[in-house]
Symmetry: C2
Subunit: 460 residues, 2 copies
C-alpha cells in the first residue's frame, strides 16, 4: 500500500512538474518569438556606440557610459537600478609608433598591449629575434635574446568556438615576461586575430613578478607577415619602437545593475550581463556592446511580462572586464548573498547568433530545462549535454564562490576578425543575429527563473 | 581574268594572313599557359612590397623604388633599361587627427586628401553641415555653409567595373572647392570605398582656381556612418579637425623603362606598364604593385621568347600617377616618337583576374586580333566588341597625342575595399589571379607586337 501511494505521489509529482515545465516552455517560446520579431538589442547597441563610443575602464568616457547605463536601465523599466562602485588601476594609452629601420625602412601598424610599460622617451631601437611560433620563443635559452626585440608571428586559428583565441592567449598575456626572462628588451606579437588587415588588435598583458617588465605591442596581421617576408631574406632586421602610457591608481569604476524582481522568491537571483567597458581603439560594439545589449534586451523582455517569473533576473553591466576588476568587485560585494544566486551567465563573445547552450551539471534532468531543447531548436541552438564549465570572466568571481554557470555560445567564427581593434564598430553587428541571441537568452533565463530548479543540488 | 586574279590574290593574301594569325595565336596560347603555370608577378610584387613598401612620389622611398625598378628590370633581362627623370610638386602628409567634440565626444579615423592644405596649427573646430549625398551639397546655396565643416556621407556602389568609383570621384576631387564656394571652412567625405572598416581611404583632390582652398580629409566608412547616426538625433554636431602637410617644389621623380626589343621593327613600340608610386598608408600592393608586376611579368614572358615579336614591347614603371605627372612627362618626352607608338595600355585596377579586354576601334577585323577570342576564352576573358576608350591615367598623355589604347579590365569587385588605404598590403593579392592577368596581357600584347596591325588605320 505504501509503495502504491508513494508511486502515485511520484506520478502526481511528475505530472505537476511536467505541466509546470510545459507552462514554462510556452512562455519561453513566446519570449523567443518576441525577440526574433525585433528586440531592444540593436537600439541599445546603437545608442551606446553612437552616444558613448570607446570607454576604457577608468576613462571619462567610462563615467559617461555608467551614466548612460543607469539612464538606459531606468528608461527600459528595470527595478532597483543602481551602481556599485569600485576602484581599479587604470591604464591609459599614449602616442605609439613602430618602424623597421633596416634593411628596409617601413612603417609598422601596432597597438601597445593593455598594461604595457612605456618605452623610454627616445624609443627602443634594436635588432629583432623573430619566432614563427610561441613554442619557438619558449624553447629559446635564457639570455639568448639579450638586447633584442622578440617578435612572435604565430597565426591564430579561426574556429566557431573561439578556441583559437584561448589556444594562443598566453602568447599575449605571458609572452612579454617570457621574452624578458630570455633577455629581450621589448616584445611584439602578431595580433591574436583572424582577419587579414592593417588594424592591430590589443588586449591585456600580465607581467610575471620575477621578470623585468618590457614594453609590448601587437602588430597588425599584415605587418607580422611583412616581417616574416623580410626575415626570409636572412639579413638582420632592426626595429624602432616607441610606446607611451601611464596608469592611474584608484580610478573609479562601476558595475551598473537593474532587476526584474521575482514575484515569489525575489531574493533568489539569476545574474546575467555583459561588460560596459571597452578597449580604446574601436567603439566597443561587438566587445562587449553586443553582449551587454543582448542581455539587457533579454532581461527587458522578461521584465515586461505582466507576470514576472518567481525568481529575480538581475542585469549587470560590468565596469572593467578588459583590464580586470569588475567580476572580482561584484563577487566581493555579493559574497553574503551568494548562496541565493541561483546561476549566472555573461554574454561576452559577440553578437551571435547563439548556436549552443550549456547548463550546469545535472540540470537537464529537470523537465523545465530539458524542454529547452524544443524551445531553442527552432532558432538553431543546440542544447549541449556537456555541462557548462565557464561563462565569462566577469562571472568567474561568482563561480569561484560556487555559483553555477549558464553558458550561451555565440558563433565566434568572425568575432576575432574585429575584437580589440579599431574595427570594432556598430556596422559589424547583424541586428537579426542580435535578436536571435536575445531569443535564446530570454527563453533560457526565463525558464531558470520561473522553475524551482536548484542547480547546485542537481549537480550532486 | 583580272577579277579572277584579283580574287585569287585576295584569297592568297587572306590565307597567308590567316596562317600568320594562327601562328601568332599559337605563341600567344603558349605564353598564356606559361603565365597560368606560374609567372614572375607575385615574386616581383613580394619584392616591391617587402623591400620598399609605401613610396609616394617625391619621397625618399620613391627614389629607392626607382633604384629597385632599374635593378629588377635589369635582373629580369630587359634591354635598354633606363630612367626618364621629371619633376613634380610633392605633397607630404604630416600628423592628422579629428574628433567629435559635441554632443558625443568620439575619435574619428581620417586621412587627409592628397593635395589638401593644412589646417591652422590649433586645428579647426566648427559645427558640421552633413549631406547624405554629393548632390545635396551641390544643391546648397552659396553662403549657406559659412563657418561650417561640410560633411558628405554618400556611400560608394560596389561594381565589377569600378564604375562606382568613377561615379563618385567628383565628391573627392571637386568637393572641397564646391564646399568652399558655399562658405565651408573644411571638408570631410565618406571614403570612396566599398568595405565596412575603420581604415580611411585617401586620394587626390584638386582645388578650383576660383574658390578658397580649405582642408579636406576622408572619414573611414564606419566613422561616416557614426556621424549619420549622430546626425539622426537632430542636435548640432561639432568636430575638431587638425591636418598637417607640406609641399616640395621640383621634387625628383622618374619613369623607369625596360624593353623587349622587336626583331624586325624595333622602332615600332607597344607601351605597357603600371605605376611605381603609391599612396603612403599602405604598401602599394594592389595599387599599383599588382599592375606593375602583372605587366612586368607579361613583358618578361615576351622578352624570354627565343624569337622576339617583330615590334618592341616597352615596359614602363610610371613614377607619379597618384598625384599626377608621370603620364604627362612620358608623353612630353616621347612626343617625337609618338607616331611609332603602335598602342599603349596600363594595368592600374588591381590584381585581377582580368575578365574583359577592349581593343582600339576596328582592330577585331584583323585575324590576329579576332583570334584572341579563342586564346583568351579558356582563361575566362571576354573580348568585348565595344572599342576601348581609355586604359589608365598614365597613358592618357599618349592617348591625347593619338596613340590607340588597349584596355584589360580586371575584376574590380573588391578593389575598392582596399584601394588608397593602409590595408593595401601584399596579402590582398591572389597569386593565381595575378598569373591569370599576366596570361591575358602576355597573350594579347604579344599578338599586337607580332602582327602587322596598324590600329590607327583600322579605326578609319
Amino acid at each position: 500500500m505504501r509503495s502504491i501511494l508513494a508511486a502515485s505521489a511520484a506520478v502526481l509529482f511528475l505530472a505537476v512538474n511536467t505541466a509546470h515545465a510545459q507552462s514554462i516552455a510556452d512562455t519561453s517560446a513566446q519570449l523567443r518569438d518576441r525577440a526574433v520579431a525585433g528586440s531592444a538589442a540593436y537600439p541599445v547597441l546603437e545608442s551606446l556606440t553612437t552616444e558613448i563610443g570607446a570607454r576604457p575602464a577608468g576613462s571619462p568616457a567610462q563615467k559617461r557610459a555608467m551614466e548612460w547605463g543607469v539612464a538606459k536601465l531606468t528608461a527600459l523599466g528595470f527595478q532597483n537600478v543602481h551602481t556599485e562602485p569600485f576602484t581599479i588601476t587604470a591604464w591609459v594609452r599614449g602616442p605609439e609608433s613602430a618602424e623597421v629601420t633596416a634593411p628596409y625602412p617601413q612603417h609598422l601598424a601596432i597597438l601597445g598591449l593593455g598594461g604595457s610599460v612605456p618605452t623610454p622617451k627616445e624609443g627602443i631601437e634594436a635588432q629583432i629575434a623573430l619566432f614563427h611560433t610561441y613554442a619557438d620563443l619558449l624553447a629559446a635559452p635564457v639570455g639568448s635574446l639579450t638586447g633584442k626585440i622578440a617578435v612572435v608571428t604565430q597565426p591564430m586559428v579561426r574556429t566557431q568556438t573561439g578556441e583559437g583565441y584561448g589556444a594562443l592567449i598566453a602568447m599575449r598575456a605571458a609572452g612579454p615576461s617570457e621574452a624578458a626572462r630570455r633577455g629581450a628588451v621589448a616584445y611584439l606579437l602578431r595580433s591574436l586575430a583572424t582577419s587579414e588587415n592593417r588594424l592591430p588588435h590589443t588586449g591585456a598583458t600580465r607581467y610575471a613578478a620575477d621578470a623585468p617588465k618590457i614594453p609590448a605591442a601587437a602588430l597588425s596581421v599584415a605587418d607580422a607577415e611583412l616581417l616574416d617576408h623580410m626575415a626570409a631574406r636572412g639579413q638582420p632586421i632592426t626595429i624602432r619602437l616607441s610606446l607611451d602610457s601611464h596608469t592611474v591608481a584608484n580610478a573609479p569604476a562601476w558595475n551598473v545593475v537593474g532587476e526584474a524582481v521575482g514575484r515569489e522568491k525575489p531574493d533568489e537571483v539569476i545574474v546575467i550581463g555583459g561588460h560596459l567597458d571597452s578597449w580604446d581603439p574601436g567603439t566597443g560594439a561587438i566587445d562587449d556592446g553586443a553582449g551587454l545589449s543582448i542581455t539587457t534586451a533579454a532581461a527587458k523582455l522578461i521584465n515586461d511580462l505582466p507576470r514576472h517569473p518567481r525568481r529575480t533576473v538581475r542585469m549587470v553591466m560590468f565596469g572593467s572586464e578588459e583590464m580586470g576588476g569588475s567580476g572580482e568587485a561584484y563577487a566581493a560585494h555579493h559574497k553574503d548573498e551568494v548562496a541565493k544566486i541561483v546561476a549566472a551567465g555573461e554574454s561576452d563573445e559577440g553578437p551571435g547568433p547563439v548556436w549552443k547552450v550549456q547548463l550546469p551539471k545535472g540540470a537537464l534532468a529537470d523537465p523545465a530545462m530539458s524542454a529547452m531543447t524544443g524551445v531553442l531548436g527552432p532558432i538553431k541552438v543546440v542544447v549541449d549535454p556537456t555541462p557548462s564549465t565557464e561563462s565569462g570572466s566577469d562571472v568567474e568571481g561568482l563561480q569561484s564562490l560556487g555559483v553555477p554557470m549558464i553558458a550561451l555560445q555565440p558563433d565566434a567564427t568572425h568575432y576575432f576578425d574585429i575584437h580589440h581593434s579599431a574595427d570594432d564598430t556598430l556596422d559589424k553587428n547583424d541586428p537579426k543575429a542580435l535578436d536571435q541571441s536575445v531569443a535564446a537568452w530570454a527563453a533560457l533565463i526565463y525558464a531558470a527563473a520561473e522553475s524551482d530548479i536548484d542547480f547546485r543540488a542537481a549537480a550532486k
